[in-house]
Symmetry: D3
Subunit: 256 residues, 6 copies
């Protein structure tokens, strides 16, 4: 079984770390392929970057040259999963939903600890749409940006543990969900410090994707996620259209 | 890995069929043990029977003599899962929740097709408490009693397919969940007839239980599902207290 | 009119105190019969004990030898009321719902003050299922165990008043509900200290049960609470099956 | 104990019939006083009439010359209960809420059958604000205007039974609530025809008001329903200000 | 285009200030007419006063002698808008809804800062019924009474800013709504101090009313807001019935 | 005042018709600029196309060379509005929300009539996230694809009117919202046929955008819609990166 694990940003080292994390959770015989978008931001911390990532992930997946059995979208709280489900016949698992869904088997309420405060409403919105918010006690921000997690691992653990403890004691969470693909590997430390189960979305998503494949289940095509109707689409896939040009890295200040 | 799959009623042939279904979904190396309660109704189709089953399943599980890694409660829409979570340190997976959780990865809305109309509110209540109802399009009854499913398999398929079709066309379900442990093996036929993915709760629960065990995750013990406080409990476990007597099968008319 | 008031635990002194409280609220001509389960825990503070109580209460009620006009289940936040409704033709009133329902006539929002923190999610779940949670400001725990309420009455008042005050000032509750059958008699003290109406569930349930009987109303039998279908039920009623054996008090450590 | 039962419209015969209904439900020793507003519409079937009734009921109650122990607002789905609660120290019971609250002890879901379709959203809104809508299966209109109920009693029964049957079979209601003060006395016929319990709001309200008085409970005054602050109010009470003039019956076409 | 802006209380200076505020927001060519009820309280801070205002505003509007194109009800969180919609063919805009609706275009969550704590539940209820509460982070009280806002403008700013800051930092509001018609003109100061957009309901309502008129849209008359049915209404309009008498200002202590 | 009205698809004639519709609703002095994405599908009828449109609209807007005062996203039920809000300092108005928000001033419940059934869940999800779903009676599909609306105008009117009538009579909608930017100009016909107000999202959005500009209000920048943090973004804006290449129109079959 081959599972594509799509990073949502363009930072290759993060793709590598996510893929490693996925492999650690995978069953024997599951091949994990980490893929990196060809365009977009080096980290996703807001709607613009997330929408761009949504398209960049779809672009990367439809350009992947080999057959695969499932796709994991490995960005926490990001847009785009529904588009992948339309474009593909194989199961698509978003780590936001995989983690929430798994946490709900472990305790009465769960909390998410994520990176920046501005990401909190995105995550809350994703959980609400997914219908997985009823038992979410809180979504809390550690205040660490995505790329700072790797740069300052000790501070990352401290701030995440601190928020996790507040989630358990004040918000009455019984399970903690790590709300960022870049928090891979922190789960054991946080579990020891808080005494509650800690769910990593990438690991959870791998087991769910494997399960769906094994059960022969995939996305329903009768309505919402039906294959796109045949129509004229200009400039798609993006990266093919861009390929003949030389899309230099742009030190973008994204706003006008 | 050893997983106990607990039937909620006292019909041994149903335990066998549920266990077979679980084995078909299990990964290599997973041992499935079907267990049957020592007391209770031969089928569960209401609250009295379901509450009795809740205690009978706990009784059967705590009396099981060997170690195990996870428990599946294989009754659809039944009471009791929270009690098992308190009594055990290993993961507990209810098929009602396992099926809903799985269905939500496959389509925008799902419907449950169950047995008798009187079971519908129980299932709706279980999904509501589990926080898995937001994307439930409907819970529909086929009108077949639990034990009739085995007796009249052809009629069972017809009535279940008919309700599934109405769920898809009228209620806009994109996935069908089989709402009874006794519907094992009907999924393929129904998928062919309706064109939508069909989720069997027992199969879904097996993969989820395996995943939790593999990820080293189990029930949070900090609050709701903490181990019961030490106290005087009269007559527990029930079956030990009953054992010295000869608890004959009682042709019970359950009401006073 | 004869009303059975069922304690949910096996502590006879608590049955007596609940029955006394019920008698104080009863109209002239209403006979109150306190009944104690024949098995189960000496106090209910979690799901295992509550599920066991559910069955034990049903067992006690169906074994009661005389006719009666209504049943009150006098455990706050416990399982089982739906089963009683199926088994009986007379009205069944749960004190959790009676208290909430009464509080809603008295203020815009109410809070429940209960015993241990671990009971809070059970109560929240019961109110949610009953559809009586929309105007619940909070469920707060005093930290006193059920049996400590009798043992340390002064401390009980202090901790309950303290939580009630926080409910009023922080959570904006306008009415306090006493969330434990064992809090009988504390209402007046708490009302004096907080200045808000205090609802005791047992008293509220008595007046509701009397009202239903007087109005000639009882449980609807058309669907959810229809009488159980005739079927083979092994070992029921529990206490009859156990009767021929000698069910010794077991110093149970409930977990395996 | 003296209970004021306030009709919401100016039709004296309806006050009489509501009072008779209240007396039939009252305990021995309860005195029922029917009161009629001094201004307003001869029947309430919309927001304008209901708002006018709200003020007219408050006007009638504050002008009532004798002491009383509780007030029942006997209009189904009408505005104004919160104002009465501010103005009075005794309990106030609205029949909309009394009926819903009572119905919820009798079945899993209830439906309301009311008069005109235009009244349905008012009732839905009242139930929503009261937090009593979660278990409301539907509010259905018989199409009969309030004053037609008395005029065409046979047709009234037919249309109400017809809607009640649809509520039971299609909407899965297990209890029917009569959604108009003018439906007094129809409950028995409808119960016979539908087989489900039928709740009349006036009767339910009487028992609830009696219970609150007996339990020594009344409206919380700490926040929402605190007594109005002392201030200059022009033209209040309305009827006193009008009394010196000769407020002729106006054949009002209410719109401009 | 002529728009009536109805004050809900009888304080003429407040009508003037509301009208001035409306004029400042109005497009060229829009005529703003401030109207004051002929009876009722000099400020509305509770349900009794609000219900009286509801009728007094309807009375003032139906007595207004000239044609007009829209009506704004300029009381925050007050009753009565639905009655006006029945009585009129032109659009009716409530400032509570206008402000919330506008705020939702500006940020993910908004908070309302109002006057007294006792008004908070009224506002919450209005937003709930209007279906505009899902993105309301909080309703907060400054503790200033309506008439104190004019008397102590500096303190008003301080307390309102203080609550607005807590709304932004604790409740995560991104927009502040001024929850009182008497807060006109404070928006700029509060915006400077909090850094978030501040919405004044009167200004918002003016632009919405203008827009509806320009688009040729008005209240739907097919159901909820249909013109009242022709019937006998005693004493309506109130002020005409009172006119022949001399309705002296009554130093009302509103309660009995 | 200059308002950009962004079509979400690449069909220029649709941009023209949307712009014309916007101009018809605009106040004197408002300049309407229709803009067309440089890439994406010729019509949006699903998530893939909608996500691509989200990015294409952002791309078109940030590339627009002149200053502007507000942006309208003129696709019904599409993704992307939150990204625009981050990228811009001027107000952003989505027609989905503008129409719902306007409809809620006109009736108790509204329904949306859109194009294809597969678009219904997208619209429901957008309304849910916007917190504007509580008074949505239904979202109904006419079965006409976006581009068929122009091609078969008569059939379009028939099918839309038919669904609108069912919305009014069965779903109890009191207002109809046209759920597609391409339904411009149908509102008058549908209003005549159904007798209820009909809201066109583009017209509604124009008046709301104008109002926000006039009131000096724009997107809150304190949290969710803060300007993106400075970071490396590869390949953005898309169209600049693509410009040096020749992005031919691709007869895309979008799926892999």
């Amino acid at each position: 079984m081959r599972i594509l694990v799509a990073n949502v940003n363009t930072t290759q080292s993060m793709t590598d770390s996510i893929a490693a994390q996925a492999r650690a959770a995978a069953a024997p015989g599951t091949e994990i392929i980490g893929i990196t978008p060809r365009f977009g931001a080096d980290s996703c911390e807001g709607n613009f970057e997330s929408y761009l990532a949504a398209i960049a992930v779809m672009d990367a997946v439809v350009n992947y040259p080999e057959p695969f059995d499932a796709v994991i979208q490995a960005g926490y709280g990001e847009h785009g999963r529904e588009g992948l489900q339309e474009l593909l016949d194989v199961p698509v698992v978003d780590i936001t939903e995989a983690a929430a869904s798994t946490a709900m088997f472990l305790g009465h309420k769960y909390s998410v600890v994520t990176t920046l405060d501005r990401a909190v409403p995105l995550i809350e919105d994703r959980l609400k749409l997914a219908g997985l918010d009823a038992r979410c006690a809180s979504v809390r921000a550690s205040g660490m940006a995505v790329l700072e997690l790797e740069e300052y691992p000790e501070r990352a653990v401290e701030t995440i543990v601190s928020q996790a403890e507040q989630a358990v004691h004040q918000d009455k969470a019984e399970v903690i969900v790590l709300g960022c693909g870049g928090m891979a590997g922190l789960d054991e430390q946080i579990r020891q410090r808080t005494g509650v189960p800690v769910v990593d979305g990438v690991a959870a998503a791998v087991t769910i994707a494997e399960s769906l494949v094994r059960l022969g289940l995939s996305t329903s095509k009768v309505r919402t996620y039906a294959t796109p109707r045949p129509k004229t689409v200009i400039g798609w896939p993006i990266s093919s259209a861009q390929a003949t040009a030389a899309p230099a890295v742009q030190p973008a200040d994204a706003a006008r």
